[in-house]
Amino acid sequence: MREIIQLIVSFTGSLGFAALFNIHGKKVWFAALGGGLSWAVYLAVEFITPSPYLCGFWSTVAITLYAECMARIHKTPVTVFLVSATIPLIPGAALYRTMNWMMMREWEKFQKDGIYTILFAASMAAGMTLTTIVFRMAWQRMYRHRRM
C-alpha cells in the first residue's frame, strides 16, 4: 500500500516540478510519467539489493534511456525530460538533513548523512553519464548502418 501511494505522489510531484520548470503541453505529462517510472524502478531494484546506491544507479539508467527516447520522439533537449524524471530520486531531503545536523553540531550524524548524500548524487550522476554515452554511441552506429 505504501508503495502504491509513493508511486502516485512521485508522479504528481514530478508533474508539479515539470510545470514549475515551465514545460508546456503534452511534454508535461511525459516528464511526469518519467518521475513515476524512476520511483517504480527504484522500488523494483530494492527487492533485489538492499544498497540504496545501486537502486539509485539502476533507476537513473532506466530514466536516462526513457529521457533519450522521449527527446528523440518529441525533438527536444534531453534535459527537459531528464530533470523532471529524476525528481523523486534527488537527495534533497538527505542534503537538508546533512545541513540540519551541522546546525545542531551532531557531527557523527552529519558525517553519515553527508556521505550518503554525496554518494547517492554521485551514483545518480554516474548512471546518467554512462547511459548517455552508451546510448549515443549505439544510436550513431544504428544511424550509420541505416544510411549505408
Binding site: 510531484g13 515551465n22 533537449p77 534535459t79 529524476t86 542534503l95 537538508y96 551541522m102
Partner: protein
C-alpha cells in the same frame, strides 16, 4: 560574409547561447549550439569556452578575419520550456540560415511566450509540497498542511522578490517562515508531524537538482562549471538548513 555581418551573426549566436545558459542548459549544449550556428554561417573554425557565468567565442573565417565576443551571464534558473524553444530556434537557424532581423524577431517571440499564470504557480507549489510530504511518509492531514504552507511560501516569495534583495536572503526568509508555519499547523492540530510537513516545502527550496547536476557536469568533463555549481548548491542548502533551524529554535 563581410566583417559587419559576421559581428552581427556572432552577436545573435552569443545571445542564444546566453539565453540557453540562463534557462538551465548544460555547458556542453551551449558551446555546441554556438559552434554550430557560427559554422552554419560559414566560419572555418570556432572556439567556444563557457562556464556558468561567462561565454567567450572566437570565430575565424575568410572574408571577415577573426571575430571575438564575450558575455557575462547573470544567474540561472530552470526554465525548460524556454530551453526547448531556444533549441528549436537554433535548429531552424542552422538549417535555414535566416537574416539577422528574422533571428531578432524569433528571439523576441520566445521572450514574449507566456509562462504559467500566477494562480497556476500557486497551485503548482501546493501540489509539490503536498506530494513530497506524503512521499516521505506523511498522512493526509500533513499533506493538506504542507500544501497550504506551499501556497503561503509562493505568496511570500513573490512579495520578497518584488523588493529584489539578495537571493540567499529570500530563501532564508522563506525557510524561516516555512519552519514557523509547519510548527504552527501542528500546534493548532491541522497536521501531525512538523518535520514531514516541512520536508514538502524543503523540496521546493533545497538545490537537490543543482547538486546532482553539478556532479554530472564534473563527470562529463566540465570540471570548473561543476565546482562552481556544487559550491553554489552547498551554500544554498546551508542557508535552507539555517532557515529551518532558526524557526525550530522558536518552538
Amino acid at each position: 560574409m563581410n566583417r559587419e555581418e559576421a559581428e552581427q551573426y556572432l552577436y545573435y549566436a552569443m545571445t542564444i547561447g546566453e539565453q540557453l545558459l540562463i534557462s538551465g542548459a548544460e555547458v556542453g549544449r551551449v558551446e555546441d549550439t554556438i559552434r554550430r550556428i557560427c559554422m552554419a554561417y560559414g566560419a572555418s573554425r570556432v572556439d567556444v569556452f563557457s562556464i556558468t557565468s561567462s561565454i567567450v567565442t572566437t570565430m575565424y573565417g575568410e572574408g571577415f578575419g577573426i571575430c571575438t565576443q564575450t558575455r557575462r551571464v547573470p544567474g540561472m534558473a530552470n526554465n525548460l520550456g524556454r530551453l526547448d524553444d531556444l533549441n528549436q530556434l537554433s535548429r531552424y537557424i542552422c538549417a535555414e540560415r535566416p537574416k539577422p532581423e528574422v533571428i531578432k524577431e524569433r528571439l523576441a517571440a520566445i521572450d514574449r511566450a507566456p509562462g504559467y499564470s500566477f494562480q497556476m504557480q500557486i497551485l503548482i507549489y501546493a501540489v509539490i509540497s503536498g506530494s513530497f510530504s506524503v512521499f516521505f511518509g506523511g498522512d493526509f492531514q500533513d499533506m493538506i498542511a504542507s500544501a497550504l504552507i506551499g501556497i503561503a511560501l509562493k505568496l511570500l516569495e513573490a512579495f520578497i522578490k518584488k523588493s529584489s534583495i539578495n537571493p540567499l536572503i529570500t530563501v532564508f526568509l522563506c525557510c524561516g517562515a516555512g519552519g514557523i508555519l509547519s510548527n504552527f499547523t501542528v500546534l493548532i492540530g491541522l497536521g501531525h508531524h512538523a518535520d514531514l510537513i516541512s520536508i514538502g516545502n524543503i523540496m521546493l527550496l533545497i538545490p537537490g537538482i543543482a547538486f546532482t547536476n553539478s556532479l554530472r557536469d564534473m563527470f562529463s568533463g566540465d570540471t570548473i562549471t561543476g565546482l562552481i555549481r556544487c559550491m553554489e548548491s552547498i551554500l544554498l542548502a546551508l542557508v535552507v538548513g539555517m532557515g529551518f533551524a532558526a524557526a525550530n529554535l522558536l518552538f
